[in-house]
């Protein structure tokens, strides 16, 4: 079966080489994306088959300079590989239609296609490589290729700025990972993940350094607060298929890293679990609250990724704590919630970003306040976006509910297992998750209600069918997955089971009864909900046929000349909730009160900003910049001075070497 995977990688390589020989952008777009799609189908055959049959694969290949490198597909790898391949597949198919519009506008996409392919390729490799040095190289490839994919429209300053945010964040992440793996190598004498995992008995100082550097490295990539600032900047800058994949799978590489840390520190200290729980809860709550303020679709969705990464983190934290306590059942429950939410979030977030891409293609704006009534002009995008929105709020009967349900359950079960104040902490976390759920509902009713419902606020063409037809299979496919995982979670949980079994130690065979069966029991409940809804709908339609239906204007309390611009705006909808989060959410209002009897035209502007981004990162950057200005005299630009520096450095080295 591994042959399928290797074949897939080879096809990716061919797709990457294609831009060098074919110069016609339109042909190139189709050829590269179709080749990638084909490669990913092969890859999926491998990963799904291996997961279902629990066939793990392990190999050591010789590589020049590095020695024999360890490649393996264990449970964790296979699950993430499956997630990455599935969503890359969706992204590749979506890109065919989406990039067509760039080709029409004369944007050159050759380099973009190359980096896009490299991104997909390196994402798959990053989970397979089990050798720290090669891992770092592939990680860097992934980071850089994602950067080049983001800055497709590099002529726009906003895009360059967003891309730069990403580049800085991803290298900050890599920096911590260098520390992490070099210290690991220093203590274990091996680059091999298997050797690192078998190392026991860390001294507490090293362990603290490792956990902090490892967590920071992966958390920056995953977008935990307060390292989230690159997400809302990079996502709107990227074309829709890339922003979808950034949120769906690129940040999940960070989640993969944290999951991998479970294997490195099997006896891990409890304190790390609590720290992770706190970080996750803060990410979830602040992420969704910031999302509520946003007026730009993609920026809003990016903040929701911060929220969802927080929710995934909650599950991981419970699993970590469960392992410290020696409760494998709790580990399984927490991990099942976290990993399933990883997959679920990938699916509905890609769906939402692709839907946002269609909105952008149709209206050429991402500003929520200017849109409206799009469900009528973009019917299919509207319906699939609705399914994505319901799913991301964790509402039944869609997939988001299943994973959040597992996380809730792990909190209550964990609270029951542990004594002291732990149940209270878990209770507060569960309540926090409920609070996040409430805010998410407010946020997505705002987004969907303002953008897709009501009347069009812009004077756009009202004619329907102006949708990107090539995106239909992707949107419908992802929406179907949301429904399918919601109604029958058992099937997908079987794909998560090997990873859970690898970490918790519970054999996959026992997973069926303990984890999957209670969830499969939800299927008839949801079926009942569907049946009741359809029955009521049927009776309603039948009755209305008999007594009649009329179409009239909306009730405006007697006011006759209502215009579309008088509709409630997104800012008004969220205003009170934003006020409640005031010290945390930055909000600037610019207006003058009306003083005269006959008022002149007035301007009211509200602008929200991210306190962490402005107050922490931008300020930090400025401070460092100022501090470094003091050293500017070193860079004199005079070659003689540089020769002197080199000479001085050489002497210092020699002295050190001599004295040591």
């Amino acid at each position: 079966m591994i042959g399928f995977f290797i074949l897939g990688l080879i096809i990716h390589a061919v797709a990457m080489a294609l831009p060098a020989v074919q110069r016609h952008d339109r042909v190139l777009n189709r050829a590269v994306n179709l080749l990638n799609t084909l490669a990913l189908v092969f890859g999926l055959i491998f990963s799904v088959n291996s997961l279902l049959t629990s066939q793990l694969w392990d190999a050591r290949w010789p590589l020049p300079f590095v020695g024999r490198i360890h490649l393996a597909c264990d449970g964790i790898t296979l699950f993430f590989l499956f997630t990455f391949q599935l969503l890359s597949l969706a992204g590749s198919v979506y890109a065919i239609g989406y990039l067509e519009h760039y080709v029409e506008r004369g944007v050159r996409i050759r380099w973009h296609l190359m980096s896009f392919t490299l991104l997909i390729l390196s994402l798959q490799l990053v989970v397979v490589v089990q050798h720290a040095l090669v891992f770092l190289i592939v990680w860097e490839l992934m980071a850089v290729s994602a950067y080049f994919s983001i800055v497709l429209e590099k002529n726009r300053p906003k895009v360059r700025r967003g891309g730069f945010w990403y580049l800085v964040a991803t290298h900050a992440s890599a920096l911590f990972l260098y520390v992490f793996f070099i210290v690991l190598h220093d203590r274990t004498g091996s680059w091999d993940f298997a050797d690192i995992a078998s190392q026991a008995g860390w001294d507490s100082g090293t362990l603290a350094l490792l956990l902090v550097s490892g967590f920071l490295g992966f958390a920056i990539k995953a977008g935990f607060m307060p390292f989230h600032s690159w997400l809302p900047n990079a996502h709107p800058a990227a074309p829709a298929h890339i922003s979808g994949l950034l949120s769906a799978i690129n940040i999940k590489a960070g989640i993969y890293g944290i999951t991998r840390m479970f294997m490195f520190f099997p006896t891990g200290p409890e304190i790390f679990g609590w720290a992770l729980l706190a970080a996750a809860l803060i990410s979830a709550i602040c992420g969704v609250w910031y999302a509520l303020v946003q007026h730009e679709i993609k920026r809003l969705l990016a903040y929701h990724s911060v929220e969802n990464v927080g929710i995934i983190g909650l599950g991981l934290a419970v699993a970590w704590l469960g392992r410290c306590l020696g409760a494998p059942g709790l580990v399984a429950l927490g991990l099942a919630g976290a990993l399933l939410h990883t997959l679920n979030h990938a699916i509905f977030k890609a769906l939402l970003f692709f839907g946002a891409g269609n909105v952008y293609l149709h209206t050429h704006t991402g500003d929520i306040e200017k849109l409206g009534g799009l469900a009528k002009t973009l019917p299919l995008t509207g319906i699939s976006f609705l399914i994505g929105a319901v799913s991301i709020c964790g509402l039944p009967p869609f997939n988001g509910f299943i994973s959040e349900f597992l996380i809730y359950k792990s909190f209550f079960q964990g609270g029951n297992l542990m004594g002291g104040l732990v149940p209270l902490v878990f209770l507060v976390s569960a309540v926090g998750l409920a609070f996040v759920g409430g805010l998410a509902v407010a946020c997505f009713t705002k987004l969907y209600g303002i953008v897709f419902l009501g009347e069009n606020r812009l004077k756009l063409s009202e004619r329907p069918g102006h949708e990107a037809v090539s995106s239909f299979p992707v949107l419908l496919g992802l929406a179907t997955l949301c429904i399918w995982i919601g109604f029958a979670p058992g099937g997908v949980l079987r794909l998560v089971a090997p990873a859970i079994s690898q970490i918790s130690g519970i054999p996959t065979a026992r997973m069926g009864g303990e984890l999957i069966a209670p969830l499969d029991g939800l299927t008839p409940v949801f079926a009942l909900l569907l049946a009741m809804t359809l029955l009521t709908l049927g009776i309603k339609v039948w009755t209305q046929k008999r007594v009649g239906v009329r179409l009239r204007e909306t009730w405006g309390c007697g006011y006759q000349s209502v215009t579309a611009r008088m509709q409630y705006s997104a800012s008004s909808f969220a205003e009170e909730l934003i006020k409640l989060g005031q010290p945390m959410l930055g909000l600037k209002l610019r207006w003058k009160p009306i003083a005269q009897v006959l008022p002149e035209p007035r301007v009211f502007k509200s602008h929200s900003y991210d306190q962490i981004e402005e107050g922490l990162w931008v300020r930090l950057n400025r401070t460092i910049g100022h501090a470094l200005m003091l050293l500017r005299w070193i860079q004199s630009g005079n070659i003689r001075h540089y020769v002197l520096y080199i000479f001085a450095a050489l002497i210092v080295y020699l002295i050190i070497a001599f004295v040591w």
């Binding site: 409206g372 009534g373 469900a375 009528k376 319901v390 964790g394 509402l395 039944p396 349900f405 809730y408 359950k409 209550f412 079960q413 609270g415 104040l421 149940p423 209270l424 878990f426 209770l427 309540v431 409920a434 609070f435 759920g437 409430g438 805010l439 509902v441 407010a442 997505f444 009713t445 969907y448 419902l453 009501g454 209670p518 029991g521 939800l522 008839p524 409940v525 009942l528 909900l529 809804t533 009521t536 309603k540 209305q544 007594v547 009649g548 239906v549 009329r550 179409l551 009239r552 204007e553 909306t554 009730w555 405006g556 309390c557 579309a564 008088m566 509709q567 409630y568 909730l577 409640l580």
Partner: protein, 309 residues
């Protein structure tokens, strides 16, 4: 495991509750009228209203789309399904599983989600204003639900509504106090979620001040009937939660249990009516504070319980 009750009694109770829900609203209205010194409409008036609405033609806004047409059945069926999860007094719920209270909260959440969208669908500022308020209050109401039932799950060590209710040890000290105070939290929740005074005024006629009523301003005919019935089901749902909790069945024979169960429902209706007669509606900015009071009550409750155990 999810268990569907094989006892036909549970399903019969469910049907009775579906039919009987408007009666509770009728009783509340009757109490209110009497407290105000009026004779008031018959307790069956809600039924007459529902029948009248069902026989009227439906008027849809030209701005509305599929959401407006889909929302009433969905709101109704999510509320009805939530009722199925509840134990009603001495009768066990028709569906029961570990963590069913999570599903209950999220089912109501789904109903709310679609109702808010339906309000935004007709492009009316009034309805969107109500939708905004509904979304805002839900943000504070949902944590109360999880706090109350989460703490009860942790205290009893059980995770389904049925087993929580039957797992309350009435003979242990502090337990009765814990349950009674938890019921007060749920009562606060009931006032908010069912749009009762002092959070919302069910009888107001000014669009700017309404919450729930303004969201269904453009609904009519059969749609409005479904909304109204779903609202009375929701009121019944919270009343059931309280009356099932405040019922030490282990100590009572079934007849006394049913009597107590119905008694608590009637007392709750009287309480709602008394509050609506005696109090004015809060200014909207005070509502989140009102809900935070309920949260604080819950927090103190679980803290006292944990530390004295």
């Amino acid at each position: 495991m999810v268990t569907f009750s094989s006892n036909p009694g549970s399903w019969l109770v469910f049907l009775t509750l579906l039919v009987g829900a408007p009666l509770l609203s009728g009783i509340v209205n009757k109490f209110k009228a009497r407290l105000a010194g009026r004779f008031g409409a018959s307790v069956l008036q809600p039924y007459f209203d529902l029948v009248r609405l069902a026989r009227k033609e439906t008027v849809y806004s030209r701005s509305s789309g599929f959401i407006t047409r889909l929302a009433p059945p969905l709101v109704w069926s999510t509320t009805a399904l939530a009722i199925l999860l509840l134990p009603a007094g001495p009768f066990s719920g028709a569906i029961s599983f570990d963590g069913d209270f999570i599903l209950l909260a999220y089912l109501l959440g789904l109903g709310r989600f679609i109702q808010i969208l339906a309000a935004l669908d007709v492009a009316s500022s009034f309805e969107a204003m109500g939708a905004s308020r509904e979304a805002r209050f839900a943000v504070f109401a949902e944590p109360i639900f999880f706090f109350t039932f989460g703490s009860m799950a942790l205290v009893t060590g059980r995770f389904s509504l049925q087993s929580i209710v039957s797992g309350i040890a009435w003979d242990k000290p502090l337990f009765p106090i814990f349950i009674v105070v938890s019921s007060i939290s749920i009562f606060f929740l009931m006032i908010t979620e069912c749009s009762r005074m002092p959070v919302d005024d069910p009888n107001t006629h000014l669009e700017l001040t309404m919450i729930h009523e303004v969201m269904i301003l453009d609904a009519s005919g059969f749609d409005l009937m479904l909304y109204q019935h779903a609202a009375s089901l929701k009121l019944l749902l919270y009343a059931l939660l309280i009356s099932s909790l405040l019922n030490p069945f282990g100590w009572l024979n079934p007849v006394a249990g049913v009597a107590l169960f119905v008694g608590v429902l009637v007392v709750l209706a009287a309480c709602l009516a008394a509050i609506e007669t005696l109090m004015a509606r809060f200014r909207l900015v005070l509502v989140p504070q009102f809900l935070l009071y309920a949260t604080v009550i819950g927090v103190l409750n679980i803290l006292i319980f944990t530390f004295s155990h």
